[in-house]
């Protein structure tokens, strides 16, 4: 085992990811080589520093709200699943009748003249999409959240405002 070998293996050694014979060989080398021993200690110190910093931050977190929020989300999941199960439980006869009715509607629709197709693809409409056609005020800022399209018009309370 040379210093170059240890340099290559020191991470796996520190992480106990080496097979036992190799682990032992690295340990023996480091015991007799101050440079390699320093490399091993350096990784140990790094481990302690990183762990200490992150754990201190986690200790400052208040996790009391986690379960209530998760439980509320689980309620929504269960409600959606329950609705899906009820929808699937439509009796066969009713399902058959629905199928016949749907076929009749489809046949009637297809018998009509279809309107000209809009060449532009339909835009995906976001649930809170808002178009601002006119906006007046002082010190206003506008932001939109991309996922839902939620728009906020923000005004600075102290300097904003127009005369009525």
């Amino acid at each position: 085992m040379t210093c170059a070998d240890v340099e290559r293996l020191v991470d796996a050694f520190a992480d106990a990811e080496l097979p036992a014979p190799t682990l032992l060989a690295v340990a023996r080398h480091a015991a007799g080589c101050s440079t390699c021993d320093e490399s091993v200690r350096g990784l140990q110190e790094l481990h302690e520093s990183v762990t200490r910093v992150v754990r201190a931050e986690v200790d400052a977190l208040d996790l009391a709200d986690v379960w209530p929020a998760v439980a509320a989300a689980a309620d929504r999941v269960d409600a959606r699943r329950s609705w899906s199960r009820r929808a699937r439980a439509v009796p066969a006869a009713a399902a058959g009748a629905l199928a016949v009715a749907a076929a009749a509607v489809f046949w009637l629709q297809s018998a009509r003249v279809a309107p000209p197709r809009d060449p532009t693809p339909a835009h995906r409409t976001l649930s809170n999409q808002a178009f601002i056609d006119r906006l007046a005020g002082k010190d206003l800022r506008l932001r939109r959240e991309p996922r839902s399209g939620t728009t906020i018009i923000w005004v600075n309370a102290t300097s904003g405002g127009l005369a009525r």
């Binding site: 906020i152 102290t158 405002g161």
Partner: protein, 148 residues
């Protein structure tokens, strides 16, 4: 007799149409106090991430809410905390969106005056920043409109 019946029928139909038109839309206005720290109301938990991304605050508490039927072309005024008011004038529908004029007033000052087309059953927000000398955070007004 037939004419009377027809006239009655037409009047009934006209009344139904008038009633439907007069329904207009339902507006819900929720005033939320936003702060840098502190708990959030349970009903706002699902929105907390989205609100935080939009406004940067992390605590949200409902301080006032009101739901009201509004007729088309009639202005409704909602009281907002801090001596403010929100005036909503529903104008009609266009392509699944509710058209309305929205004004946020602070006493006599017009803070926001906007014409907006909001997706039916959608929500838009107005925010009023913290006032100097007040430690009670900012105000977010959630406006939801649903055509009837």
């Amino acid at each position: 007799m037939n004419r009377a019946a027809v006239a009655l029928g037409m009047m009934g139909a006209a009344l139904s149409i008038a009633a439907a038109v007069a329904l207009g839309m339902e507006v819900q206005v929720v005033s939320v106090r936003a702060a840098e720290r502190g708990p959030s109301d349970a009903e706002l938990q699902p929105l907390r991430g989205r609100l935080r991304r939009l406004v940067g605050y992390r605590s949200f508490r409902v301080v006032q809410q009101e739901r009201r039927q509004c007729s088309w072309r009639n202005t409704e005024e909602f009281r907002i905390p801090g001596g403010r008011s929100l005036r909503v004038l529903p104008k009609g529908m266009q392509d699944e969106a509710v058209m309305m004029q929205v004004r946020l007033l602070d006493g006599r000052r017009r803070l926001v005056d906007t014409d907006v087309r909001l997706r039916n059953r959608g929500t838009m927000l107005l925010g009023v920043g913290r006032q100097a000398g007040r430690a009670d955070g900012a105000l977010i007004i959630m406006l939801k409109a649903e055509a009837q």
